[in-house]
């Protein structure tokens, strides 16, 4: 099947209002208003009045009817009344007896002609119909739901006209239809919930439905009767049957009905604010005539329904708005109560999924995607966010055909053909999305889309009504149900609520920041005191001890000398400790001045320094690959000095101490390993490794403050890197430092 060869407008182009024939159960004459001379007559008119159309055409009505049993005088009098009152509405139908049989005459005036139509008088029950109308009126006044009202209207119309099946058929915004209420005989399959493509009721047919509110097709199997015109009547002025009650049915529509096993049909228009809202569509499996009064009764019930629609529909919109608003209120309360935005919006009984009729919802917050219901996957949602970010959109986007705006959405159209999204923060890439599934996934289509295309005698492809489904399905691909105003309104409000909570939290963070700033200031003051006021007396203790030893050493006994040496050693340890603490406290705050660092040079410098202090022992430091790192140079020196001097320290007991450094460039990061063959440590204590002042048991005899590795950790964290290690007691330790190879902060 190649959709491109379909002629979808075929139905739309059919001039159904000037088909040139009427249904054969009735008869038609059209007369000029001034002379009542006949200009059109249906071919079957002879059946009614015994004279052929040819004989009648061109004659004034009194002459034409002189030989018939239809009283010309009575008819003329009737027409005079109608013309004078300029309205036929109140006069229809008028009963006339012809050859002892009663006929209903229905008259209207259109395009300069008076059109007279006779149809049979049925076996209608006026009393019962009036009762049904009264019930309908009561029901409309009572406060019932719209769906109840529709269902009962279907029942009532079915009782009035006696068809097998009465459906209420609602048009969607794209004019495809949807059966929303149904009354039927038990043996028939239900059509409830079925969707019909828009092409089933083409545009010009819909226009006629707006003008002519009731339409009866009494027998699809009968042959229509042609309308003949008086000989000199211009060919380009065929009789316009727009207002005719007998108007014949287009062959395409007959075919449509036949496919549905329907031999009589009737439809009544449902109007909402001047537009066609839906139809009461009635089917009968065998031919059935519904007389004018019954049609009028059914029409009246339907008009009552139309009136009810005007406010009931508003009410239902209101109530769904109320429903979403209520859920929005719950969400707001959850937000205020919890202040954990993700939890409040996605993890409670009422979630963002309840804010719309969407089939899925997602929150992108703090870099994480949270999904509810049926949604595209995480990556697809992130892609969508990127697209929204790039396209300078308003804070809210709604579409019922996302793939047409954003082609990648075609991949996930089954869950996301429609999108409603709000921006929480463009900078932080934070969004809430609601998705609607592709409509094709959701609906049950009436008819069989796979039925082959019919080919006309002239070889043209023509779409029969039933086969138009396939084309229609093509047509509505990538489309979801539209977003209702109530949904959008609820979402707009939610956005405000969420932003308010975010702002509130931001203010709290700001207050915290202020307090933190205060604490930092105090820490600064403390650091200064440590650095100066504590170090100064310490220096004095140290210096005077040295002076005592130097200048009075000869007067002291060896014990006193040793004690002075202990004082001096203690001040030395304290000095080192103070220096480390200061360095540690500054590490968190000093500005990072990152640059690419020549690691070979840096490591060789550190090695040289360590080798000077280790000149009395056997120590080998090998430097392998040295890919550059991006870091603050001072901190990098501190980092590697600490790690290498640690390694040197803990290999002191080895006969042959070996330290190996090697760098490895991998994806986006550089990893340096520092391996030694020193005392190692028990991995059970590894958790304490980087804690300030923590020292491991087996390192007790080694000098150290417990600050060195804490500084190392801080430096690594400041650079957005990682540090880890592996160690075995008495086997040595390996440290691994990974630093991002791109600029940080």
């Amino acid at each position: 099947m190649t959709p491109s060869t379909f002629d979808l407008t075929n139905c739309e182009r059919e001039p159904i209002h000037i088909l040139g024939s009427i249904q054969s159960y009735g008869y038609l004459l059209a007369v000029l208003p001034d002379t009542y001379s006949i200009v059109h007559a249906s071919d079957n008119i002879a059946d009614l009045i015994g004279q052929s159309a040819d004989e009648l055409l061109g004659l004034p009505i009194d002459q034409a009817l002189s030989n018939s049993s239809l009283s010309a005088n009575a008819l003329i009098e009737f027409l005079n009344v109608g013309r004078r009152s300029e309205s036929w509405e109140g006069l229809n139908p008028q009963q006339f007896a012809v050859n002892g049989k009663s006929w209903n005459l229905i008259v209207h005036q259109h395009q300069g002609l008076i059109v007279l139509e006779w149809e049979p008088v049925g076996e209608h029950n006026i009393a019962r119909n009036q009762q049904l109308i009264a019930q309908a009126l009561t029901e409309v006044q009572a406060s019932r739901t719209l769906s109840d009202l529709l269902q009962n209207t279907a029942q009532r119309v079915k009782k009035i006209i006696g068809f097998d099946r009465v459906m209420v058929y609602r048009f969607e915004p794209d004019w495809h239809g949807h059966v929303i209420a149904e009354a039927k005989e038990d043996h028939l399959d239900s059509y409830m919930g079925l969707h019909f493509p828009a092409s089933d009721i083409p545009r010009q047919a819909r226009e006629l439905y707006k003008i002519n509110l009731v339409r009866l097709i009494a027998d699809t199997t009968s042959t229509p009767s042609r309308i003949l015109s008086q000989p000199d009547w211009p060919n380009d002025k065929p009789l316009d049957l727009t207002h005719s009650v007998l108007r014949a049915v287009s062959p395409i529509h007959i075919e449509y009905l036949t496919n549905m096993s329907v031999q009589a049909s009737m439809s009544i228009s449902l109007m909402y604010r001047g537009e066609l809202w839906g139809l009461v569509s009635c089917h009968n499996t065998v031919p059935r005539f519904v007389d004018y009064p019954a049609r009028q009764a059914a029409k009246f019930v339907s008009q009552l329904l139309s009136t009810a629609l005007e406010f009931r529909k508003d009410e239902e919109d209101q109530s769904s708005l109320l429903h979403f608003r209520q859920n929005g209120q719950y969400l707001h309360e959850q937000l205020l109560l919890d202040e954990n935005i993700v939890k409040a919006l996605t993890k409670q009984p009422v979630s963002i999924l309840d804010m719309t009729k969407g089939t899925g919802a997602a929150l992108l917050f703090n870099g994480t995607v949270y999904r509810l219901g049926q949604t595209p996957d995480d990556d697809e949602i992130r892609g969508l966010a990127d697209w929204l970010k790039q396209n300078d959109m308003e804070s809210i986007l709604q579409t019922d055909q996302l793939p047409n705006l954003y082609p990648p959405a075609e991949k996930f159209r089954h869950v996301g053909a429609g999108l409603l999204s709000i921006i929480l923060s463009k900078e932080l890439n934070e969004y809430i999305f609601w998705f609607k599934a592709e409509r094709i996934q959701q609906v049950t289509w009436a008819g069989n889309p796979d039925k082959p295309i019919l080919v006309d005698a002239d070889g043209q492809h023509r779409i029969s009504p039933r086969t138009s489904f396939a084309a229609w399905v093509q047509n509505v691909r990538n489309t979801s149900e539209a977003w209702a105003e109530a949904e959008v309104a609820a979402v707009v409000k939610l956005r405000e609520d969420v932003l308010q909570v975010i702002t509130k939290q931001a203010n709290e963070v700001r207050l915290l920041n202020q307090r933190l700033q205060l604490a930092y200031d105090e820490l600064d003051a403390f650091s200064y005191t440590v650095s100066h006021d504590l170090r100064t007396p310490l220096s004095s203790i140290r210096c005077y001890s040295e002076i005592l030893l130097e200048e009075y050493g000869q007067d002291l006994n060896p014990d006193a000398t040793a004690l002075f040496q202990k004082v001096i050693d203690s001040t030395e340890r304290m000095r080192a400790l103070i220096r480390h603490i200061l360095f540690y406290s500054r590490m968190g705050r000093t500005e990072l001045n990152t640059q690419s660092i020549d690691m070979k040079q840096l490591l060789e410098g550190i090695r040289e320094e360590i080798m000077i202090t280790a000149k009395d022992r056997s120590l080998t430091i090998t430097i392998g690959d040295t890919p550059p790192i991006v870091a603050d140079e001072t901190m990098a020196i501190q980092l590697f000095t600490n790690l290498l001097s640690n390694a040197a320290k803990y290999t002191q007991l080895e006969k042959e101490a070996i330290i190996r450094i090697n760098g490895k460039q991998s994806d986006g990061e550089v990893i340096y390993s520092i391996e030694d063959n020193g005392i190692g440590f028990d991995m059970n204590q590894a958790g304490k490794m980087f804690d300030l002042f923590k020292r491991l048991e087996n390192a007790r005899t080694f000098e150290g403050s417990g600050v060195g590795l804490a500084i190392v950790k801080r430096i690594v964290i400041r650079h957005g890197g990682k540090i880890w290690f592996h160690s075995e007691l008495d086997r040595g330790t390996s440290f691994y430092v990974s630093l991002p190879s791109t600029q940080t902060r």
């Binding site: 100066h532 170090r535 210096c543 005077y544 040295e546 002076i547």
Partner: protein
């Protein structure tokens, strides 16, 4: 022109001043020095004002300046000294316990010639002063004010 002294040391910590004096006396050569205990006194001395008004105070070849002084700070002293013709080019060395980068920076910005951290031990201080003398008194070429 008045004779110059070698060093003017501004230090409000008595112990540090004392240790300095002891080290001066241990120097292998004669060194002339004056110790003042506050920034404002140092400025008076350098400018020949206040209680030094009637005296002709000898300019030092080197001003050794503790930064953390009670009252006027060492940085203030540098600022003021640099505004005065007589001391605009006087070599000033900041001599401080602090090695905080921000202290070092602001001292340089005020116009010091060098920043030296107090070593904290007697021996190291002695060695440092010997080096300072070698360089600033022997090697360094001075601009004398008019």
């Amino acid at each position: 022109m008045v004779d110059m002294i070698d060093v003017l040391y501004v230090e409000d910590n008595e112990n540090d001043a004392d240790i300095f004096s002891r080290l001066m006396h241990k120097m292998g050569r004669p060194v002339t020095y004056t110790i003042l205990s506050s920034g404002s006194e140092a400025l008076d001395y350098l400018a020949g004002q206040g209680k030094y008004k009637q005296q002709l105070t000898p300019l030092p070849k080197l001003l050794l300046l503790d930064l953390n002084l009670v009252g006027l700070s060492g940085i203030d002293v540098v600022h003021k000294a640099r505004q005065h013709d007589r001391t605009r080019y006087l070599p000033i060395i900041a001599f401080s316990t602090s090695d905080s980068p921000s202290d070092v920076r602001s001292a340089y910005e005020a116009g010091i010639n060098a920043y030296v951290v107090k070593p904290g031990t007697y021996q190291d201080t002695g060695a440092l002063l010997t080096h300072l003398y070698d360089f600033w008194l022997e090697r360094n070429t001075r601009i004398y004010s008019k």
